[in-house]
Every structure is written in structure tokens, then in C-alpha cells.
């Protein structure tokens, strides 16, 4: 392997943003045809490095060599032309346009002076098909759930036929099946000589896919080694400077108390039908399902965001027929939404203001926000969640994806809800913080709260939940107590194969 030609080399690249040194003299060398992992805590600088290589941002210092030639991209277009593609961590699309148009934005097929729509659809279909994405190319991107958007994002980067591909957490909202398809595709690309850089917080993926690993910490390269030289624990230690003990099974759960959330005969046309379940105090109920199964829709409907839903919901023992987010909050039910950018954060506001938003009335006297209480709440969340940001006054826009996710969780933990619906709570969060968040969720349950967790990562559901419900195409297809649940059992229920 080491004899192979180098595809990308960065030499002492530095990049700083106001108040942060995101990259500090980073030098890496990525062999042609290899799959090179880039790992590190949230905010370590992985995305920044990826963006620099793909021409989205310019480094302050340092140089980039592509196949031994120094390149200096003045924009993404040149990078695309040089054969560098990137699957972005943050899904940015022209949401007003169709999937096909988004995929062909840089160079749409034309016939004469006009766009050739038929050819564009054909091309989009082909690209989506190559990763077996079940997405309608003429659908408007804005109407797609985030998981589908992620598939579109991948299809775009892969389909363009780039020779160097940077995957920045491509699977953060995909479930196992889609992930598997993606991996097959990546392996095929690798065998045809394409070079991949792979960023992920999921250790299993690194070990199944990658040849070499570079660990970043605080913008510096701390290690580059072949995968064979590492095991899970040593890699984690390199990333966060300490080991984490991973609880393999549930620890002592307290005895479930009274029912806090009861959903009966819940139906919303085209989304889900006849959903019945309840969550007791002290329980953590996991919802398993493939992408598009309708789990998000169920959670949002409970939180009063779906006007068309029928059926009954009881919160804290009280009927809640006409719900909206305000009444739900008042009754002690909160929702951590899955899309941090669109639903979770107000990017124009700083970290402190985002954290305190749902709890402002509690932090104020006579309508005036008590600055000191607000600040202490925010600082506390920062410590608890290990948010890496210059300060609680930092703009959320500049935070790394994982750190943004931590703020969303912090915001809802601060709201002290009795019932918490968590939709992909650890999407993009690093291993250390993930363990921390799991611990917090368990503690909530210990304290007699009810938690509902939606996650596309089966291992996460398995170690967290006390009970797991599987959803397929909008219906509950099975329920297993955590003690009997395995990935296999769940997968079978989720996919409907026996």
C-alpha cells in the first residue's frame, strides 16, 4: 500500500476563524485508491480540512498537492473540474428546485440553448440508482426528509465521477441498510482507483471500510496509522485523550412507573396508520425503522406539528386533543428535532440565546431576562455537553456540526420536560460526547422521566432502550423488550424479511 502513488497531500495547512484556530499546520498524505479515515472530536477540524481540499474555503497558509502537483483552487468549480468531490456534512440544497436540478446544478445537460429536462431526469435517476436511493428525481428537495437529502447529496458527489471523494459523515442519518449499500458502492469505487477520504464518528464504519486513519485534535494531526495497528480503544484514546467504557448492555433500570405518554390509534394519511404505544415513567422507548418509515412523523405529530393527525394522545395522564408545541411544552413534553439547521437552532443567535429559548420565561422576572441566570444555564450546558466553542457567546453559525447538535440537546435538557422525544439525538456527535449524552438520557429515566428515542443506529438503540418498537411503512410491526433485542431481530422486523 505504502508504495502507491499519493493522491492528495496537504503541507502544513493552517486556517483560523475569529477566535479559533481550526487547523494548525496539518500535513496528511493520502494514497491513491485508498480509503483514508479522518477522525477526531467535534470541532477538531475535519470538515474544515475537507472544505479546503475541495476548494470551498481557502487556507491561510500551507499548500495542497494533487497527484504531486501543487493546486490552488479559487472556488469549488475548479475543484470539481480537477476531479475532487465532497459529500458535505451539512446538507445544503436549493430547496426550491427538484432533486434532478440540484444534482445537475453545475453543468445541466442542454439541447441547443435550453436545458434538456428529460436527459437531466435520466442522469439523476442513474446517479440515484447507483447508490440504490429510493428518491424521486422530480421531487422538490425541500419536501424530502433529511435522510433522503443525504442520499441525494451522496448521489451527486459520486455520480459526477470524481477521482477523489471526500465523505464528511455521509451516514449520520442513514440506517444500516442504506449504509450497507453505500459501503458497497465505495468499495467498488476504491477498486476502480478512486481515492476516498472518510470522516465519521461511527467507529465500526472506520474499521470495516478504511485502510488508514488520521486523528485530528484541536486542529493538529496527532497520529496517522494503518488501521491494522489500531483497535477501537486505542483509536478513541487518541481522539479524545482518554478511554470510555462502553456499556454493552443496559445498566440497572428502575422499575417503570405510571404511564406518562399514551398514543392511541394514531393515524395521519400517507404517513402512518393506527399507531398505539405508551411510555412509562423511567422507560426509554426506542423506535427502530428504516429511512422513511415514518418515525419522525410520529414524533412530530405527538408534538402537535401535524394538523391532519387523528387519534388520541394522553400526556401526563391528561388528554391532549388539540395540541401545539406550546401546549405540549406546558404539559411537560418536549421534542429534540432531527434537523438541527432547520428545526433545532437559530443560527443567527449565539449559543447562550439558543440554549435558553424554550426556557426564557423561567429565567426572567417581569419579562426581563435575568442575564446571570441565563449565562449560568448556558455555561452549565457547555460543560455537561463538552461543547467546543470559544465561549457561550459564540455564534452558532460557525460551530462544527457536532457541536451544534450538542446545543440542540442542551436546549431541551434545560427545559426539564417530563417526557422527551429525541429524534436522532446523537447525529454527528463524537464518541466521547455520545457516551455523555447516553449517560444523561439514562439519568433522565432514572429520575422518573419518560424518553422516546428515534435512532437509525441500531447499536445505539440497543444500549439505550428498555423497550424497542419497530416501524415499517408507517405501522408498528413489532415490539421487543431490550433484553431480547438483537440487531438481527430488529433488522428483520424493520425490513419485513423473515
Amino acid at each position: 500500500m505504502s508504495e502507491q502513488a499519493t493522491a492528495i497531500e496537504t503541507r502544513a495547512i493552517s486556517k483560523s476563524f475569529p477566535g479559533v484556530l481550526a487547523l494548525d499546520e496539518v500535513s496528511v498524505r493520502i494514497a491513491k485508491g485508498s480509503c483514508h479515515a479522518l477522525v477526531g472530536e467535534n470541532g477538531a477540524g475535519k470538515s474544515t480540512l475537507g472544505k479546503i481540499i475541495s476548494g470551498l474555503i481557502a487556507p491561510d497558509k500551507g499548500e495542497i498537492l494533487l497527484y504531486g502537483q501543487e493546486v490552488r483552487f479559487s472556488g469549488p468549480l475548479q475543484a470539481i473540474q480537477a476531479g475532487v468531490g465532497m459529500v458535505h456534512q451539512e446538507l445544503v440544497f436549493c430547496e426550491n428546485l427538484s432533486v434532478a436540478e440540484n444534482l445537475c446544478l453545475d453543468a445541466p445537460p442542454t439541447r441547443g440553448p435550453f436545458v434538456d429536462h428529460a436527459e437531466m431526469l435520466r442522469r439523476a435517476k442513474k446517479w440515484l440508482g447507483s447508490i440504490q436511493a429510493d428518491v424521486d428525481p422530480s421531487a422538490k428537495v425541500g419536501d424530502l426528509p433529511i435522510s433522503k437529502q443525504q442520499l441525494v447529496q451522496i448521489a451527486g458527489a459520486v455520480g459526477r465521477g470524481a477521482r477523489i471523494l471526500i465523505f464528511d459523515e455521509p451516514t449520520s442519518s442513514l440506517s444500516q441498510r442504506e449504509t450497507q449499500v453505500l459501503f458497497d458502492q465505495i468499495r467498488q469505487l476504491l477498486s476502480s482507483g478512486v481515492t476516498c477520504v472518510y470522516v465519521s464518528h461511527r467507529m465500526d464504519e472506520i474499521f470495516t471500510l478504511c485502510d488508514k486513519v488520521t486523528v485530528l485534535r484541536d486542529g493538529k494531526v496527532v497520529d496517522t496509522s494503518p488501521i491494522e495497528a489500531l483497535d477501537r480503544d486505542s483509536l478513541v484514546r487518541k481522539m479524545i485523550g482518554r478511554a470510555i467504557e462502553v456499556p454493552t448492555a443496559q445498566q440497572s433500570h428502575r422499575e417503570p412507573g405510571k404511564v406518562l405518554l399514551q398514543v392511541e390509534n394514531f393515524t395521519s394519511a400517507g404517513k402512518f396508520t393506527a399507531v398505539n404505544f405508551s411510555v412509562r415513567a423511567g422507560e426509554i422507548l426506542g423506535l427502530a425503522g428504516l429511512v422513511g418509515a415514518g418515525r419522525t412523523e410520529i414524533a412530530e405529530a405527538i408534538f402537535g406539528l401535524d394538523p391532519a393527525v387523528t387519534g388520541s394522545v394522553e400526556i401526563n395522564g391528561k388528554q391532549a386533543q388539540r395540541r401545539n408545541p406550546q401546549t405540549c411544552l406546558k404539559m411537560g413534553l418536549g421534542l429534540v428535532p432531527e434537523d438541527r439547521k432547520r428545526q433545532g437552532l437559530i443560527l443567527g443567535m449565539n449559543a447562550r440565546e439558543n440554549i435558553s429559548l424554550p426556557t426564557l420565561p423561567e429565567l426572567s422576572i417581569a419579562g426581563f431576562v435575568q442575564g446571570s441566570r441565563e449565562r449560568s444555564l448556558a455555561s452549565q450546558s457547555f460543560v455537561q455537553m463538552r461543547v467546543k466553542a470559544p465561549s457561550i457567546e459564540s455564534s452558532t453559525l460557525g460551530l462544527s456540526g457536532g457541536n451544534q447538535q450538542k446545543l440542540v440537546i442542551a436546549k431541551w435538557l434545560a427545559a426539564h420536560c417530563d417526557i422527551l422525544l429525541l429524534d436522532e439525538p446523537t447525529r454527528g456527535v463524537d464518541v466521547g460526547a455520545k457516551a455523555e449524552i447516553h449517560e444523561l438520557i439514562r439519568k433522565l429515566a432514572q429520575d422518573g422521566k419518560s424518553v422516546l428515542v428515534i435512532s437509525s443506529e441500531l447499536p445505539e438503540l440497543l444500549i439505550l432502550s428498555t423497550r424497542i418498537i419497530a416501524i415499517r411503512e408507517g405501522s408498528i410491526v413489532g415490539e421487543v423488550p431490550a433484553a431480547h433485542a438483537t440487531e438481527e431481530v430488529l433488522m428483520r422486523m424493520m425490513t419485513g424479511l423473515s
Partner: protein, 342 residues
């Protein structure tokens, strides 16, 4: 195929607007009375003269509204169109001052001159917006004052007559009987159709939607945003130039007061036509229909013999009601169709 085309009609962006316009026309036909023309009873509203008159009145607005809709799709706003209209008209009239008979070449040349001035004004807006990184509201408010000022300084508020041959062209009857002047109407339709083809069929048009939909995503996809935006404002200027050419020719003169406070109504036409001020959404044909609707409402105040003093109250309410009706009927239209399908 048949079904698909019905879906296209009922579900189209234009459906709501067309319904509202037809309703208003029906109202006007019903209530404006009729007169006796050589023994035949002719409706006061529903006759070629009045209809072409209404279309002519709206045409100048409508042409600019097509430009405005393109700017709005790109996520911007252009407050300078009224002033550009004045400047293009005044400068053209001044260049032609003293010429009496232009000939076909001269008529064409005058048009190119006017359009060129419009493009220059618009491109200047675009350049300033992109190079200074200041919100288009401020830039075009500034140039609105500047262009108006330049047209005043050059003409001293005099009304400058344009050569007869231009008026002869703009008022050509093209074989229609009587005093019917279809040229402004045809220009309006032409510009709207061209704008529609440009926006929906060409690469540049789609890129404008992309930039307005999500600037960052467009940049990530390698689009060069600056030339696109400069182009967008240049097109807006161009439409103001075209409107100025037709306007000055049709009315026979240009002055620095022309187009005063048009900007808000031009933008309103585009928005009534469904353009979204947050960018990424809009249609050239709908913008034209929007302008037509606003003109029709003005006409109604007169045709229905309302008290003129209440004109601005009536029009203010009518604009709001029109937008609401448009959205409602668009929704009903598409729902009815989908119900049938199901």
C-alpha cells in the same frame, strides 16, 4: 396526456390569477353598463377599445414586473426601476432631439439606445451589489435617487418630445380597425413569454432560481454567483429600458418625473404574481398577470363609478383581496383536480 394537460392548467401557478382576473372582468362587464353605437348596444367594458386600453395601461408596468420577478427570484429587490425608466426615456429623447424623421433604422436604433441605457443602469446596480456586498435594497434605493437626479439634471424637468416616427411606430394599428393600438400590448406579451422561456428553459434561468433558492448551495455546486447577479439586475434594467422606449414613444414625450413611485407597484405586481420575496420562486407570465390585475383594479374604480376620493382605499383593499383570492383559488383548483384523479 389529456389529464396531464388539465392538471397543468388547474395546478399551474397562473390558475388562481386567471380566475381572479376573469371574475373581475365579469364584474366589470356586468356592472359598467352599455352604450349605443350605431344602433348596436355595446358593453362599456367588454369592447375592443376598452380592453386594449386596459392592456396598454398595464403594459409598461407589466414589462418591468417581468424584470422585477427575475430579480426577486434571485433573492434581491430592485427599487431603481422607476428611475431607470425615467433616465432611459429622457436620455433617448435628448439624443433624438431635433430629429424629425427617423426611418426604420432610426426607430430600431432608438430602441437599442433605450435598452442599452437600461442595461447599463441595471448592470451598475448588480456590480455595486456584488462588489460592495451591501443589501440590494440599499444599493437600489441609492441608485433610485441617483438615476432620478441624473435625469433631472440633464433635462431640467422639461418634457422632451420624441420624434414623430417613434410615436407612429408605437401607435401602429397593424391592420386593426379604428383607434386600436396593439403595440404596447404585444411588447408586454412578448417580454413575458421571453421571460418565461428564459426562466424555465435556459441554463441561466435555472441558475437564477438556484442562487435565489440557496446561495451557499449554489456556490458549493460551483456556480459563479457574481455574473449571475449582475445579469439579473441588467435584465431588470433592460425591462425598464424597454418600457421606457414604448412609453416615451407611445405618449410622445419623456420627462424626469416619469415612473415616479412605480417601484413599489412593480414589485407588488411580481408578488401578486406569486414571486416570493425570500427568493427562489416566481414566474414571468404571472408577473405580467399581476400587473394586469392591478391595472384592472384601477380601471374598476372608474368603470364602476366609485367615488374617486376613495380610490386609494379601494385599491389598497383590492390588492390584498386579490392576493388572497389568488392563493385560495389556486389551492381550490389544484385540489379539485387531484380529487377527481383519486
Amino acid at each position: 396526456m389529456m389529464r396531464r394537460s388539465w392538471a397543468a392548467v388547474f395546478g399551474s401557478q397562473q390558475f388562481g390569477l386567471i380566475v381572479v382576473i376573469l371574475l373581475l372582468c365579469a364584474l366589470l362587464t356586468g356592472f359598467s353598463g352599455s352604450f349605443n353605437d350605431h344602433g348596436r348596444s355595446v358593453n362599456n367594458f367588454l369592447n375592443a377599445g376598452t380592453l386594449i386600453q386596459v392592456l396598454t395601461d398595464s403594459s409598461f408596468f407589466a414589462v418591468m414586473a417581468v424584470g422585477a420577478t427575475i430579480v426577486i427570484i434571485s433573492g434581491g429587490i430592485d427599487l431603481s426601476v422607476g428611475s431607470t425608466y425615467a433616465l432611459a426615456g429622457v436620455l433617448m429623447a435628448m439624443v433624438l432631439r431635433g430629429h424629425h424623421d427617423l426611418g426604420a433604422g432610426g426607430v430600431l436604433g432608438a430602441g437599442l439606445l433605450c435598452a442599452g441605457i437600461g442595461i447599463a443602469c441595471g448592470a451598475a446596480n448588480g456590480l455595486l451589489i456584488c462588489s460592495l456586498g451591501v443589501h440590494p435594497f440599499i444599493i437600489t434605493l441609492g441608485t433610485m435617487l441617483v438615476y432620478r437626479g441624473i435625469s433631472f439634471v440633464s433635462s431640467r424637468a422639461e418634457s422632451i418630445l420624441v420624434p414623430q416616427s417613434l410615436t407612429a411606430f408605437a401607435k401602429a394599428r397593424l391592420g386593426l380597425p379604428g383607434q386600436l393600438h396593439p403595440i404596447p400590448m404585444l411588447v408586454m406579451i412578448g417580454v413575458a413569454v421571453l421571460g418565461w422561456v428564459f426562466l424555465t428553459r435556459t441554463v441561466a434561468g435555472r441558475r437564477i432560481f438556484a442562487v435565489g433558492g440557496n446561495l451557499l448551495a449554489s456556490k458549493y455546486s460551483g456556480l459563479r454567483v457574481t455574473p449571475i447577479l449582475i445579469g439579473v439586475y441588467a435584465i431588470s434594467g433592460l425591462t425598464a429600458g424597454i418600457a421606457a422606449y414604448v412609453g416615451a414613444s407611445f405618449y410622445g414625450a419623456a420627462s424626469s418625473a416619469d415612473g415616479t413611485s412605480y417601484e413599489l407597484f412593480v414589485i407588488a405586481s411580481a408578488v401578486v404574481g406569486g414571486a416570493s420575496l425570500t427568493g427562489g420562486k416566481g414566474s414571468a407570465i404571472s408577473a405580467m398577470l399581476g400587473a394586469l390585475l392591478i391595472s384592472l383594479m384601477r380601471q374598476s374604480v372608474r368603470s364602476l363609478h366609485f367615488d374617486q376620493n376613495y380610490e386609494s382605499i379601494i385599491i389598497g383593499c383590492a390588492i390584498i383581496v386579490a392576493v388572497v383570492l389568488d392563493r385560495v383559488s389556486a389551492r381550490l383548483g389544484s385540489r379539485r383536480f387531484y380529487k377527481k384523479q383519486a
